[in-house]
């Protein structure tokens, strides 16, 4: 039976799935943005804000950013688990990273609906 300590991966399956799903979401969005930039090279302010003006685009962009933060959480957690062995230090690092990512998520909403 897996030892489900708080700073461990527990069963790992949910994180594994989150990482792959978020990767798929990010890939689709990236391809869309890349295609747009190829069609509008050197966009000016009007064109750029025009792209992000609709609620649909703001929402999809927020989805992309949330996928980034979820994906980053799993990745950083894995790296920290590999190199930081003392449980106390690991817990402190994990907690800091989680709080940072949550602040980034809140900031993202302000960015996307703040213009």
């Amino acid at each position: 039976m897996v030892e489900r300590i708080v700073t461990g991966a527990r069963y790992g399956l949910r994180s594994w799935l989150l990482q792959r799903l978020s990767a798929a979401v990010m890939a689709l969005y990236t391809l869309f943005i890349a295609a747009w930039l190829l069609q509008h090279p050197h966009p000016d302010y009007a064109q750029w804000t025009g792209l992000f003006a609709s609620d649909v685009m703001r929402s999809v962009s927020l989805l992309f950013l949330l996928a980034v933060f979820g994906h980053a959480w799993v990745g950083v957690r894995d790296v920290v688990m590999d190199y930081v062995k003392p449980a106390g230090a690991r817990l402190a690092i994990h907690a800091t990273v989680i709080v940072l990512l949550m602040l980034y998520a809140i900031w993202s909403v302000q960015i996307l609906w703040g213009f």
Partner: protein, 124 residues
Amino acid sequence: MQKNRPKYLDLRRIHLPVSGWVSILHRVTGLLLFLALPLLLWTLQYSLRSPETYAMLAWMFSHPASKIFLIVMLWAFLHHFCAGVRHLGLDLGYGVELAQARGSSKGVLVASLALTALLGARIW
């Protein structure tokens, strides 16, 4: 539980096969991208906030030093992306044989560097 397994960490002498390089670079670029997240968000914010902040960004990115930084981050993203796509393929069972895995690793390096050169030239 105390483990006394032999450990060899002389980075100057460790030889990594090509798949090993792709793998460790996948980890390193991931960390780089994570550390760059606040900068990415700040750039997005300033690009949208006002014509003045947009112009400020354009001016900032016109400097060679900024362009070099941007190209490095572009490579980090492209390597992580291509290595990630390879990873998804392996997850689904494609290319698991040794020869195929080596081939796809080389493909990741070629693709990410080629795309970096292509897009980097446009940035420069």
